[in-house]
Structures are given as structure tokens and as C-alpha cells.
Subunit: 402 residues, 2 copies
């Protein structure tokens, strides 16, 4: 069987494969990137869905336009304006537009589709979100990893990467509560990334699915790169992607892209050939939830929970991991993940051993731009397991981490 | 703005653009490919959606696996077995697998993604479904059109096309109630297409969204190409795509691909990088509808309606179009469309004039593999407008068709 060049070596995400393993057993999972299912607003969604289908069935069940459900686009615009991602000047030809996508993943995919020819380069944080890395690979891109530090990319290494390599089209960053590390790129580094994007004439893909999940009230909320770029030279070289997966429900698959009109227009044409439009019922559920309930209050409730979960996991690691393992954990101010690094055992080996003992973690190598590299680092999700399972799971890991 | 080579010249579907024009006015539309909205089972869906969210919220709202919702996959398998698309031998490593996709469009897109390198060829019916043509273009494919006759492709021209052109990867066919023409490929031609695919070692993409919509009881149901290929040499070179858009609701965006395991596995990996998985609520609505209601009865009811609609439109054309226009219409045994051909006026001009007079048709040029060609042919949808609007719309067209 001869597959196309760009997909011949594409392999499945180890996380997605893990989900299949999880489907039918009682494994303690620190693997997924999902919210706690106890917090899904299922009752609200049930009454919304019934209402939509009773009162507006033709709208919900017929074809929709590719751009997305118009009332939802307005909700996204209002929310983005409140958060200074967009400014509040009236909409005009030059102001950024919004495309509703089938999850944040599709927004990332469409960015790659419109910008990349085979062999073009993408600069990525090392480590980074493997769903995005695989999307870039599927367009035949070369990935250039820039080492992550405590407050974001090593800017010197970023400049060197941009200087050395030709045909780089964009820099992919998750500036807030990064996946997989949980770290946040500092204000200074955000500005430096923008300056370097200007200097080397490349785009920035700012992926921000976790930005709302800030649970440490003592850390300031940093402006997005899209806001900072507007306040700098406003060249319109930032494509921003967001999602309702982490703040409402991933199974709805509703995300979005915000970018200058010319870019959104091209992404819209490309979305047409992928899936015509995002299903309407999920879009309408998100819209009606925002319209009739308090999304920010819902997020606050989740964040209070995640704060406890994260603290507890860090506390368990501190108490239970052997001191001589060398393992340290990042201390996120928000998001869903922390990152364990500095250990000695290969993380792919560790993940296999852990699964045999009933604990699921994600080995770090999947997050590396060079997928054949190995690492002792691994990712832990703290949002989805009950506190006693966190204690039990970290206890099991402590016996094998090194 | 410099877009990627493969997307730089990609433009929006004229049909999708038409939908936007339709959103806010009272135009008589013969444009869309949607079922009659009077027949959406909205009440059933409302109770199903509420039940799903009340009883199974974690399943509905959390991430799912990329392959699709397992009970729905079983439903699709059973239905495909009943229809002889799959045989009823027990499932084994070699039997075809199923991938649930975000509409039939994504199944077509993923087929192109796994098979096509830039510059590869795809043989298509001329005219053909423009959503598929655009998907192939988005991978940088060369499209080779084979003229359609009353009973499917001109087989001699097909053989010549396969002989003359190199790097052809697959033949794209809509054998039953074709879009845009409404014609059905004969049994003989189906077998000849399979023979030629064997001879030239290419795949067949069999797109069958309309197969269930047979409303003429006097014509036989022909076996699918997938069935005929299995009964011939069973080389596994057919990729079959289906959809619930035309038999239940297009806004749900639930379709599927059926193909040998190796192909479905690669398509699954590719779907992961596009949208992770199809949203669960739409998948669960389709599944629970099939489980608790009589889908075939629903389809029969729709078909009885479409039969009347189609007859009425043909009758109106016969009565109202000027005899000297030269226009003939195909006489479909099923599906949603008929095709008017043999006229003198350029169809793009006609479509514009018609829209000014409040009638929306789809000009034929969008369906041509060479998108800069022009044609006097045009497509009419007969399923979505009430009978009096069909009469009124055809009456308006009759004044301008030439």
C-alpha cells in the first residue's frame, strides 16, 4: 500500500491510543487533557438541546454556513473583546475575523494548510502539543524545536533558529499554561517573540486553549500575543486559536480561529473542503449556554477545583517520589498539566511500566519535534482524577520512577 | 499575502456562497442539496438529545476515540451488511473497517489526503460533485474529467484517460443518483469501471450519499461497486463513503468511510490531525435514532415525497420551458437533483439573472473538472421547495432560459 508522501510516516498520537486503552477498565489516568467530567454542565446542555430542537429545528438540522453559527461568532467576538484579544473599535474591513472550527485542532490544521508547502519550516516550542506537531507533519513541514525554559522559549535559540533555517512560515506557541509543561511565557518573552516574527517576516500561531484556566489568583493575567502585536506595529501577523473544549466540553468539538480577514477567508475555503461546516447542535449548545448561563462563573468553579487538584498532585509528588530520583515538577498557575523532568528513566519505558501497574501517564517523547528523540520527562494531568486516585497513582509511580 | 501553493487558487464553492445569499430572504431555492426540512425528525432528536445528556453525559461530553462512537459503527456495519456493501462473514483482520467522519465531505477529503501527492491525477465524472473536486484540488491534484452519458461514464473515454495520463491514483464516482446529474451508472458500466481499475492499478472512490433515496419502485436497486469488486477479485481497491446528511440531517455532519483496514487505519491517523474526532452528540443522536426508530420507514416517507416533487418539477419544465430553448432534463429515479442540459445560454449568466428574479439555481460550470470551462447546463434541486414554489420558480426560469 503506497500512501502519499506526507502521510506515509504519520502515526497516531500516543495519547489518542491511550484513550482506547482507557475505554474499558479502571486505570488511574493522568493521561488525557480533559476537564473533570463532574463539572460538565450536562443538565443545562440537556435543556438547551431540547429547546433548540423544539423551537429551531430547521436551523439546527439543515446545512449551515462554513464560517459558523452567526450568534456564536458574536459571542466569541464579545468575549475576545472583553479579554482584549480583539480591541473594541467597530468592525471594519481590516479588523480580525472569526471562524468557528471543529475543535481547536482544526484551527491549527487550517493554519498549516493555508501557509505550508511541503518542506517549509515551523518553529515550535520543545516540547509542544503533539496534536499540533502531527498536523504540521501532515503537511510535510520541517519542525524546528526551541528549548523551553521556565518562562517560555529560549529567545536566543529562537533567533538562531530563525537565522539559520530558510522557508520558516510561522512560530507556534502556547504562551499560557503550556501543553505539556504547564509553564507560561513571560511578558518580556512574548514581546521578544513578536519582535523576532517582525524581523524574520513570519507569522505567529498563538494557541490558547488553556488561558481561561488560571487558578493562581496571585499571578497576573498576561496579555495575549495577539493583543501585544496589535499594540506594537499591528501588522496582523498573529493567528489566534481558541477552544471551548477545556472550559465547557471537548466532546462538543467547538473551537475557533481569530485572524485578519484575508487569512480567515482562506481558512474558510479550506474548511469547506474538509468538513463543510462545524455541526450546528454543538455550536448552538455553546451559544445558548453563554447566552443563558454564566460561563465565567462556571470557569471559576472549575478553576477552584483544579487548583486543589494541582496542589494535591504536587504535594503527593513531593512526599512520595524518591528524593534520589532527581525528578522535579513544574508548578503551573493554571491549565490542566504539569511536567516532570530531571529523572533518569526513559519515559516511554516508564509509561509502559506504569500502565502495567494501572496508571496511565504520557511519556515525553511524543511532545518532541524530533519524534525519534527520547526523554525522561513526562506529562501528568491533574484535572480529571479524584484526589484519592491522585494519591494512589502517584504512589504507584513513586515505586518505578527511578 | 502568500498562501501555500495548493490553496492559493482554491476558491469557495458557489453553492456555499449561495447559502449565504439565501440566509436572509425569500428566494425560491433550487440550489441546495438538502432534504426537505419538513421531514427532519426533530421531535425524536429532541427527546434523544435530552436523554443522552441526562443519562450518559460523560460519554457525550468528554473526548471520544477518533474511529467514532462504537455503537454507531456497529449500526453502520449492520446496515452496510443488510445492503450487501459488506458481506456477512464474521469480522476478521482482512474485512473492511469503518471510520465515522464529519460528514461525507471529510471521508472524501481523507481519501485524497492518504492517496495524493501534489501533481497526482484523479479521474472524475464530468460533471461531478464540486465539494469533492475542490477537496482534490486542495491536495494539488490534476483532475481528468470523463464525459457522463445517460448510464454513467463513457467507458471508452475512461480507458483512454487512464492510458494517456500517468500517476492517476483513483477514479471518483457517484454511481447512484449522481450529483449533479441525477443519473445512475448501469451495472455493466460499474463492472467495466472495476475492470479498468484493476488493469491500471488504481483505487475507486465510490461516493454514495444518495443511494437510499430511490423513489422509482420500478427500477432495480443496483449493487454497489464495493459489492461488485468483492464478488470479482476482492482486491480491496474500493473506498466507499456514505452519509446521514441526506437521509437524516446534514447539519449533524455525520458520515463514514468503509475500506480495508490498512486504509481506514491511515485515514484515522489523518482524521486525528484534522479534528480529533467527530462530535459525540451528533453521532449519538444518529445511533439512538436508528436504535429506537425506524430509519427505513423514515426514508420511505421522504422518498414518497421526493417522487412527487421530482415529477412535479419535470412536469413544470415540460409545460413551461419554451420548446425552442432546446433544454432537456434528466429523469432521476432517486436522489435530490435533476440536470438541465442542451440550452444555449451560459449557465453562469442564467444563474445571475435568475437570482435577480428571486430564483436560485446552480450553474453547471462549478461541477466541471476544468473550472474555467463554461456550460449551458445547470442543476436543480427538487426536494426542498413546496410544490407551488416549484411551479412559480420554473415559471420564472422559463422566461429567461433562452
Amino acid at each position: 500500500m503506497e500512501f502519499s508522501n506526507k502521510t506515509a510516516n504519520l502515526s497516531g498520537s500516543s495519547i489518542r491510543d491511550t484513550f482506547k486503552a482507557l475505554a474499558n477498565n479502571k486505570i488511574i489516568s493522568f493521561a488525557g487533557g480533559m476537564p473533570s467530567s463532574a463539572f460538565y454542565p450536562a443538565d443545562e446542555f440537556a435543556s438547551i438541546a431540547q429547546n433548540i430542537l423544539n423551537t429551531n429545528p430547521a436551523k439546527a438540522l439543515n446545512y449551515g454556513i462554513t464560517e459558523g453559527y452567526a450568534p456564536l461568532i458574536e459571542k466569541i467576538r464579545n468575549r475576545a473583546t472583553e479579554q482584549n484579544i480583539l480591541d473594541n473599535t467597530s468592525e471594519n474591513q481590516d479588523s480580525p475575523q472569526i471562524l468557528v472550527t471543529s475543535g481547536g485542532q482544526q484551527a491549527i490544521n487550517l493554519t498549516a494548510m493555508i501557509l505550508l508547502n511541503e518542506g517549509d519550516g515551523v518553529v515550535v516550542e520543545n516540547p509542544s502539543f503533539l496534536g499540533a506537531l502531527n498536523a504540521f507533519r501532515s503537511f510535510g513541514a520541517n519542525l524546528y524545536g526551541v528549548p523551553m525554559q521556565n518562562a517560555g522559549m529560549d529567545i536566543e535559540a529562537l533567533e538562531k533558529t530563525l537565522t539559520t533555517n530558510k522557508n520558516i512560515k510561522f512560530i507556534y506557541v502556547i504562551p499560557t499554561f503550556q501543553n505539556p509543561m504547564g509553564v507560561t511565557t513571560s511578558l518580556q518573552k512574548r514581546k521578544q517573540i513578536i519582535d523576532l516574527a517582525y524581523k524574520f517576516n513570519v507569522y505567529i500561531l498563538e494557541d490558547n486553549p488553556y488561558g481561561d484556566l488560571k487558578f493562581n489568583p496571585s499571578t497576573p493575567s498576561l496579555p495575549t500575543i495577539m493583543q501585544l502585536e496589535r499594540e506594537a506595529q499591528n501588522r496582523g501577523n498573529v493567528i489566534y486559536t481558541g477552544s471551548f473544549s477545556k472550559i465547557l466540553s471537548p466532546g462538543l468539538r467547538v473551537g475557533y480561529a481569530i485572524a485578519p480577514r484575508e487569512i480567515i477567508d482562506k481558512m474558510t475555503v479550506c474548511k469547506q473542503v474538509q468538513d463543510v461546516h462545524t455541526p450546528l447542535i454543538p455550536q448552538m449548545i455553546v451559544n445558548d449556554y453563554i447566552e443563558n448561563f454564566d460561563l465565567n462563573k462556571h470557569i471559576s468553579k472549575c478553576n477552584a477545583h483544579y487548583s486543589k487538584q494541582c496542589s494535591h498532585m504536587l504535594n503527593c509528588i513531593d512526599r512520595l517520589f524518591p528524593k534520589n530520583s532527581g525528578i522535579k515538577a513544574t508548578k503551573p498557575d493554571g491549565g490542566l498539566f504539569l511536567w516532570c523532568y530531571g529523572g533518569k528513566k526513559d519515559s516511554a519505558t516508564l509509561a509502559k511500566e506504569a500502565l502495567d501497574l494501572g496508571v496511565c501517564i504520557v511519556s515525553g517523547n511524543g511532545f518532541l519535534p524530533n519524534s525519534t528523540d527520547s526523554t525522561s520527562s513526562f506529562r501528568l494531568n491533574f484535572s480529571a482524577s479524584p484526589l484519592d486516585k491522585i494519591e494512589e497513582g502517584i504512589g504507584i509511580l513513586s515505586k518505578i520512577v527511578g
